[in-house]
Symmetry: D2
Subunit: 256 residues, 4 copies
């Protein structure tokens, strides 16, 4: 039976590409996203066309019980989940304090922090019993520094990063590998960045950065590192790493 | 008219002592806590006995609209709030993932993150209009590193710290000083640490640390630094500082 | 007998102003700098004109034995040093790797790291015997993040910050307070920033920032915080804090 | 012609094992260490026995001109260096301030910071001309927090980390990948940890940690991640990552 990799937040960017990578390496990939069934089916079809195994699941993660039911269903119907990628973000673009409603602030936390907590609550007891498991968490610069307009994003991703550390502290010695992957730059991801910016602005950014010169982060390349981390020997686990394009300044560097 | 200092979380530890310090320096101090009216009245009475001015307010901060109404009432009935101390914590003692319910996890976030966001939403527009204001935030080591058993605490304080940075990024240039004060040690605070540990264990800790040798952090001494930060000239503001007893190792130091 | 405060790096910016503050609070201030005897005498004269007590010492700190001899001479001739401010920097402006010679790189380390180590080696055994003492260290953003052109500066200040932590870990419990003060912005300091930029460019910066609107950090205001930290009760010591002007972005915030 | 990987600090731990990994992947590996010609020849022989290509170089890196001459010689005699691993450390075990001489403190800096600077000074101009190159730097927890007894180690590794950031800021966009690899735990390395502890104590540690249960970090497993990082696509480079055994607490976690 194939190992199972569950991807929460499986769009055409990081989620879908990490899914494809795991499928190529022999995993069954359970791909979940909230909406766009067509887009979801497309990724499943692409994986199957390459000879891989995948399933698509439309799930609204913030709904009560939804994450719990999904994990239950995958474990029961497909098999024990070896690797889970938590790829839900809370980026909503720059919004002043005034324009950030309590509702938006709470939704950010539901996506960035509470959802991850629920995944761990549901899945870790099973992984502990099996003596192994991997939780890959896509994270953002907002988890290590707050910027103007990022009240909801940073206020929730900061909690996510600390939660990853508490999970690691309790579960590493039980064989569960938690990796906090800090994405520091713009990803060539039409489903997230593209939608946030609008199609035209996104295309302009792609052209400005130079698609052929890999100015944007290419998710199929990022997926290589996600996979590597999931395969590290337990005597040499990475808990945190950053990823950025060679052409970008790191978040801690101002332009001169 | 006296300047006004609002203290959210005014127990017998940091909150009450910072209140007393501001009262001694001529501020009217509006002291708020969720319960223990007797304890609250006692602090007010102590301040008045010293010739200071204070008022007590019983408020359940996580209740919808409660923080907003309180700020409204203080501004309307007492005067413009110059300094606010956000002193609500989310420490609940060490709890494994299994023992941390979704409800507890959410409550931690309501106390540590959402409540602070609501204070800023309500108060900052007024401070911006007045061109000045100070937000002092008591924080914890859990805001910079997650430890086993701290899922709710770290998962919410991490968000708090990033939120302080986003607020600072948007509002410093508008004259609002946000200070994130990282308490790295056990405070001699019967209302919080004392209740969490139980009276007996807390008394034993006090004796072990040596009350006369100031092994615990003394909140009346900590209050001196809270006040100093609130009075810094705007050309030299501190956004973050730590406080710990000389006899304690810093959070980043293991015992050998 | 007056308490003694030793200032290493006593120019017209932070060093001189911290010296004046301590003199006003009753300390004898021993002011040391490498050159500009006239400038040094001017600060001593200003302190004495205010009724304070000060002495001037021309010392090249990187010379073998110079720091050690100075501390010996002050302790023997003036009195036990209660507070020492280490205010020597290694900022040389932006230089590419190519333009940073091995000699410059070593000099940066001598100023930023080795000099501080020598102060601690010489003075801490005396402070331990006396059961108390304070080391204030002026530091820079370069101690927490490296930027292009800062090879020598960051490569040495990073060591300085870690050294402060090792000293704190060994000596806090022996009554010695080490504080790492992170200056995150341009100081209105003609002897350092002014010389580095050139008199004209510095004056233009002052005008652009608006002297009357305190856009630059004012060293006499910063001195208030230096002094406060030195007087903290040992149950509530600050090891690290930042200082920046309200009008500046923090180092971790990019312009949008 | 084979690509060339230069290893500075090629003992039987990380250095030798990273060398073997690169040799297996088709690189010629130039292995350098200060002493123990026999040990060096053994690694070369092991690589060649596997069909790989390697050369051994005895070099005292802190000697003036030694690193520069070595790089010159490898480039001229073997070929352009594609990847360099800087694996020299400055760990000397716990030493109090009193027991840390100026000479030891300087030597730590020579090994940890200056040596790395000299590698970059010598090699980066060549890599810039070629448009690509990779610098892998083995680093330690001492680069992010100072502990008692670590004056020399932390005081130099802190500089190393900041230097890596300055190099990255100047050279990433020119195609040079700098990776700071933070080793947070005890490595199964007889040539460094073994010598520092003494053979008996080291063997006891190995037995206590359980060799068969991979309690110590296994350098041949760590080498997989070193290699992966060196092969990352330039649209997704890692600048910093940590490595620790699953059974160890992270440096930021105290035992309860």
């Amino acid at each position: 039976m194939a190992k199972v990799c569950l991807v929460l937040g499986a769009g055409a960017g990081i989620g879908g590409n990490v899914g494809k990578k795991f499928a190529r390496e022999g995993y069954h990939v359970a791909l979940c996203r909230r909406s766009d069934e067509e887009g979801l089916n497309k990724i499943v079809a692409e994986i199957e066309a390459e000879g891989g195994s995948a399933s698509g699941h439309l799930v609204n993660a913030v709904k009560e019980g939804a994450i719990e039911d999904l994990i239950e269903a995958v474990e029961a119907g497909i098999g024990p989940i070896d690797v889970v990628l938590y790829n839900l973000g809370s980026q909503i673009g720059g919004r002043s304090l005034e324009d950030t409603t309590l509702k938006v602030f709470e939704l950010g936390w539901q996506m960035a922090t509470m959802g991850l907590f629920r995944v761990a609550k549901t899945l870790f007891p099973r992984m502990v019993e099996r003596g192994s498991g991997t939780l890959l968490v896509t994270s953002a610069t907002a988890s290590v520094r707050g910027n103007a307009g990022q009240h909801s994003h940073a206020g929730s991703m900061g909690g996510r990063r600390m939660l990853c550390q508490t999970l690691n502290a309790e579960f590493a010695s039980k064989g569960i590998h938690v990796a906090h992957i800090l994405i520091d730059g713009a990803v060539d991801a039409p489903d997230t960045l593209g939608k946030m910016m609008g199609a035209d602005a996104f295309q302009k950014l792609r052209e400005a950065r130079g698609l052929e010169h890999d100015g944007l982060m290419l998710p199929e390349k990022m997926a290589e590192t996600y996979f590597h981390v999931s395969q590290q020997h337990r005597s040499a686990w990475t808990h945190e790493l950053d990823l950025r394009a060679f052409s970008d300044l790191a978040w801690w560097n101002h332009a001169a």
